[in-house]
């Protein structure tokens, strides 16, 4: 440091000789250079420091930016409008669809065209002809689930044609080329036309479905007959050939005499739904088609005069969406009642249209759908989140065909004027809504609304369940039991070691407890999961007896020591070492409880405490909240202890001395003076401890079963927000709703803990000022 001393003062005296010291000019240069360096340091450090702080701020900004898209509303905008590709004069569009890249569309017409066109321009690229006889008219149209790409056309001569269109992709020279194809999945003797009526009666209504169990067809004929046709594929074990067997059944008509307007078959070939002009839907159980009958009839319209104008299954063919002539849109599905009979049950309503609903288009891969009314207004809905996401002003006329692009990013609508509207849909996160996160939701296939977190499953038809309630409850539960264990222990320990303990002992005890804080939580979690959980399961009575006996025996020992032990003995242990004396007591109580545990179990719980709990009606998981409470409590004890000990220790001595001088006992001084003064510090200690418990990941991950359940039973597990992130983040699709919801969970954790810590810190700083003022 001495080299800093500026020798300028002596320089003048020595200048007459040849000085080794710098001349005035060099000195000035040196000074300039030092000045520049000073400035450089100032700005360099400034930029650097601010950069680091900015980086830390970036965490919040980035998390936020990943979450924001969740809450952006959906939009439907016009892509292109053109005359429907191919002939339009007197030709009705039956169906439109496109491939998953929206690079090739198909329009099926009543005249038997299959026109493959470019969705961008409407230019016809390929034309195929359906084998319809020349002199017949199309009287009914139906389509199976969108992803099966199968349609059925009913004719006035009682025949039905089932056709499947396809888009074949080939990669040639790195470029994708798509070409259209057309096939007929069922054909009798090479003839794809199926004679359903048998006597030439026209087909009036039609339903078709293609599922894992083959193709099924239901038709209402002009003479009122209701016919069910099944094509069951059987594969011969010997030859590997598949043979399609056709079976036809006749069903009774629905009980009401109203005209049938729509029919639907589900993908498992178990139910047929028939909607009528009277606003009713009839459910046929066709699991055994020979004795298929109406199980349930239900009015699905609120308006007594309304008719069912359109009906469609959502993805998976479980949920039924019904559109009425009163413009209402509602969701229904079969729920089994007490007698195990499926009943059509009203699940939820969506925003109504002003005109009768004419068309419903389900999405290919999600539980969303679009509805179009007679005025041409189109609305976008999502079932699980009970939202109507967007409304599109209209296509001018009633729709003849409406369908989604497979990735739900485009919507194709053909109006009665035979103009095709290609609409661009931006709807990445429809699953999100307040009700989906926080309220009970009636999920498909469940008997009642519930809070469920289940983000993924093996099947494509899966309905993601994003209720945050189980995770939030789990987080609160884990933190609550941890605090229940840690707060009394830590604060009492802090009181003793700050106020009653001798200085020397305190010098050992405080660092020992504080070093716990550095203990990796993965170790606590592993001990909790692999050692503590089975230990507690096998020694349940010991846990209870430790809780009861420990405080009692401590006080008893205190009484014996202060009252019954001779003063001579007491003098050997200095004041302030009571805690050291109690260590053997604690060990003894622990050992006694554990070794007496089996005896207690035999005496009180019929030999098996766990079974006893189950008999009483309490579910017991091995890895439960009790284990988590102890392990996580262990992790937060040092935090709470250290901060509240500081707060108590720093209470000015003259306050306590004044109190003691007035004749208060040490304990009175403690509770009436010290604790009151230090309470803000203790509060902030608890807050910081709580923040740690809320965000702790490894302990809950390892010491619970991670099942997202909603209860506060101490003997059951939970799944917390943080553990959920750790479990599911690596497998969430980047940019998807699930991914962003996990980011949302992280952001919520960030904000909660940040706010808690800030409050604690401000309280603590106030306290510090108060102490210095006292």
């Amino acid at each position: 440091m001495n080299d800093l001393a500026n020798p300028a003062g002596v320089a003048g005296k020595l200048r007459k000789e040849r000085s080794l010291l710098p001349t005035g000019e060099r000195l000035a240069r040196l000074r300039r250079w030092r000045n520049i360096k000073d400035q450089l340091a100032r700005y360099g450090i400034g930029i650097f420091g601010l950069g680091v702080i900015f980086c830390l701020g970036l965490i919040f900004v980035y998390l936020f930016s990943e979450v924001v898209p969740l809450f952006r509303s959906a939009a439907v905008t016009q892509g292109a409008v053109y005359a429907a590709p191919g002939p339009i004069d007197g030709v009705r569009t039956a169906q439109v669809a496109s491939d998953r890249h929206n690079s090739l569309g198909v329009r099926l017409t009543d005249a038997g065209h299959a026109l493959f066109f470019s969705p961008e321009t409407g230019e016809v690229l390929e034309q195929k002809i359906l084998p319809l006889p020349a002199d017949v008219a199309v009287t009914a149209r139906a389509r199976a689930e969108a992803r099966s790409r199968t349609v059925a056309i009913g004719l006035d001569n009682g025949h039905v044609l089932i056709a499947a269109y396809g888009f074949d992709e080939v990669f040639r020279g790195g470029a994708r080329q798509v070409s259209g194809s057309l096939e007929y999945p069922v054909a009798v003797d090479g003839d794809p036309l199926l004679d359903v009526a048998g006597d030439g009666t026209a087909v009036r209504n039609l339903a078709v479905q293609r599922g894992a169990r083959g193709i099924a067809l239901a038709a209402e004929l002009a003479d009122g007959r209701l016919v069910l046709v099944r094509f069951e594929e059987t594969r011969s074990f010997l030859t590997g050939e598949t043979t399609v067997e056709r079976k036809q059944y006749e069903l009774e008509r629905p009980p009401s005499n109203a005209a049938i307007t729509r029919m639907l078959l589900d993908g498992t070939n178990r139910s047929l739904l028939v909607g009528d002009a009277d606003g009713q839907v009839h459910y046929y159980d066709i699991a055994r088609p020979a004795d298929g009958q109406v199980r349930d009839s239900r009015r699905v319209m609120q308006d007594p005069n309304a008719a069912v104008t359109s009906m469609e299954y959502l993805l998976g063919s479980v949920s039924l969406i019904v559109g009425g002539s009163d413009g209402s849109v509602s969701q229904w599905f079969l729920v089994r009642d007490a007698d195990n009979i499926g009943r059509l049950t009203h699940i939820r309503d969506f925003e109504s249209h002003a005109a009768p609903v004419r068309a419903i288009a389900p999405e290919y891969a999600r539980k969303g759908f679009a509805t179009a009314d007679a005025d041409g207004t189109i609305k976008l809905h999502y079932a699980t989140s009970e939202r109507t996401l967007a409304t599109y002003g209209g296509i001018g006329t009633a729709p003849r065909a409406l369908s989604f692009g497979p990735r739900a990013n485009a919507l194709y609508a053909v109006g009665e004027d035979e103009r095709l509207h290609r609409l661009i849909v931006r709807n990445p996160h429809p699953e999100v809504s307040f009700s989906a996160f926080w309220q009970k939701v009636w999920y498909e296939g469940r008997s009642e609304p519930d809070y469920v977190w289940q983000s993924s499953s093996a099947t494509d038809e899966f309905e993601p369940k994003f209720s945050l309630v189980p995770l939030t409850v789990g987080t609160i539960k884990a933190a609550f039991y941890a605090m229940l264990f840690a707060v009394p222990l830590a604060i009492m320990a802090a009181i003793y070691s700050a106020y009653f303990m001798s200085a020397r002992l305190r010098g050992y005890v405080k660092p020992t407890i504080e070093i716990m804080e550095a203990l990796p939580t993965v170790i606590l979690g592993f001990l909790a999961g692999l050692w503590l959980a089975p230990f507690i399961e096998n020694n349940l009575p010991a846990v209870a007896s430790i809780l009861l006996l420990m405080p009692l025996l401590m006080v008893a020992f205190g009484f014996i020591w202060t009252r019954l032990v001779s003063a001579e003995w007491r003098a050997r242990i200095p004041v302030g070492w009571e805690a050291a004396l109690l260590i053997p007591v604690v060990i003894l109580v622990g050992w006694l409880s554990v070794s007496l545990s089996p005896l207690l179990e035999v005496a009180l719980f019929g030999g098996d405490a766990r079974q006893w709990l189950t008999d009483v009606g309490i579910t017991y998981d091995q890895r439960n909240a009790l284990v988590v409470g102890i392990a996580m409590g262990f992790a937060v004890i040092p935090t709470i202890y250290s901060i509240s000990e500081d707060a108590i220790f720093n209470v000015p001595k003259h306050l306590t001395q004044g109190s003691l001088a007035l004749g208060a006992t040490p304990w009175q001084t403690m509770t009436r003076v010290v604790l009151l003064t230090a309470s803000p510090g203790i509060f902030s200690a608890v807050m910081i401890g709580m923040g740690r418990a809320v965000g702790e990941t490894m302990i809950v991950l390892m010491a619970t079963g991670n099942s997202p359940i909603v209860n506060f039973n101490i003997f059951e597990g939970m799944r917390t927000l943080s553990a959920n992130i750790a479990v599911e983040m690596p497998e969430a699709a980047v940019g998807g709703t699930h991914f962003r919801i996990l980011f949302l969970a992280a952001l919520v954790l960030f904000v909660i803990t940040f706010v808690m810590n800030t409050v604690a810190e401000i309280v603590r700083q106030r306290l510090r000022q108060k102490y210095s003022a006292l």
Binding site: M1, L4, N35, K37, G46, F48, G49, L50, V52, I53, I59, L63, P488, M492, A493, F500, M501, I513, A518, L519, P520, T521, V522, I523, F526, L527, G529, L530, N538, M550, M554, F559, T562, R563, E578, A579, L582, I583, V585, V586, G590, L599, G606, G607, D608, R610, P666, W667, T671, G695, T697, L701, M702, A726, V734, L742, A746, T753, F754, I762
Partner: protein
Amino acid sequence: MKEWMRSGTPWVWLTGGAVAVSLVMVLGLLLMIGVRGLGHFWPSAVVEFDYAQEGQQPVRVLGELSRSETLTAAAMREAGHAVPEDQEIVVRHLIKRGNRDVTGSDFVWYLGSYSSEWRYPSDAMVLERLTWGDFIGYLREYREDGEVIVSGSEARQAFEARLQETQRMVREIAHIERVEIGAVNREMERLRLVERGLNLRDELGAAEREQRQAELAAERAELDAEYAALQARRNDLRSELRRYSIVAEVMDGRMQEIQLGEIVKAWWPNDMGFFAKLGFYGQSFWDFISGFPREANTEGGILPAIFGTVMMVMIMSVVVTPFGVMAAIYLREYAKQGPLTRAIRISVNNLAGVPSIVFGVFGLGFFVYFIGGGIDQVFYQEALPSPTYGGPAIIWASLTLALLTLPVVIVSTEEGLSRIPASIRQGSLALGATKAETLWRVVVPLSAPAMMTGLILAVARAAGEVAPLMLVGVVKLAPSLPVDGTAPYLHLDRAFMHLGFHIFDVGFQSPNVEAGRPLVYATALVLVLIIIILNLTAIAIRNRLREKYKAESD
């Protein structure tokens, strides 16, 4: 008594009890990890007893005692075990029988009441094997080329002598496979990527492309030859190894032939003296620290995990120290001390309390997907779609932990800076030094110990953090270490193994939890030791520092 109660003394005793309970818990925990972690390497005695369940033929049981439990008979019956009618309390022992390949299950509970007295046969042998876990039995024959060379009690000597040699060969094979063939494979992978990169570059002329491809083909042929030579050497060693075997009797009397090449270690625990055991213990512990994991991590050593942890922490330190110190200097020395700076200070402080998993999520989204994915797009196009930097990598883990520990370093350095007495600063300024000079020559050297403390605390925290790493870089089993002999020697894009994650993985996701359990304790012990030593160092430095300035500022 009443008076005593009213004086509040019971409460004082209760609070004292809280301290005692806390202490017992801390020390008990450390003691448990210590005893169980260290105990695993002690060659435990092999017990033999006859186990006669009611109405069944007695069977001979041979194995190591893992632990014992006392349970109620009702709970046992509930779990479906046969327990004598008259018993209410049952003692049961978990016996490690080994021989997973012969008996199916290597850990089995035996009720104390059905067992005969325990014997400790001195010729009971334990083998540590490359596969199927430990073998416990009696050595009967030593064979070469399938022919019995020695049988009976002399077999042990011949076997032990040959084992030395086969162990050396096994090590050589491992070296060939892990190091030499690994290097060839990496080189081939590099060539493949170069070739793909060549195809992606459109601007190359046909002639030039062909020439380069020819060069690549020549290189590949050379590598193929090298590979074939290595493989031939390995196969020679293997067939040599296959010549030697032993035959041993297992607990149910069956004879089992075991290749010497399969055997890692052999010992006769009941025949060892205290010092022999001590020597064995040291050797086992060293093998554990310096070995590679086997059998889904439930056996072998933890060298890659230790190495990965240390490496990650080192890279993190290199990042976090300059940034943290600079930020602290800015906040304390240059920033205008006002409400804004105070707010920033509180925020930085509170970031230390934000759950680590949040940093993990940030690291995954920002570092791995955004920056890593970007780097892949620009520089590693030929390797896509398999990620180079866009997947779990040690660099992202280090950066994520650097962010996580930045607050620790900033707070600690700031505290150090604020403890330097104003008189020292003023002295320097009075002598004409500029602010920067005062800073670099006076303030920073004096507060260096505080920075060290901050760094050590940061390292201690980082070494124990697992949750964020699970998202950004840690894997169950890394095929290669982040540092090796191929250029550029330090591979920042590789995933790595970590002690903390190793504990989680072996303890909770391994197929044989019981077999892995002692290893988990041992790993936990290593981790705890590293962290406690680091923390104690930090505390010691801090205390020395405080004393020093107390003296200087007087």
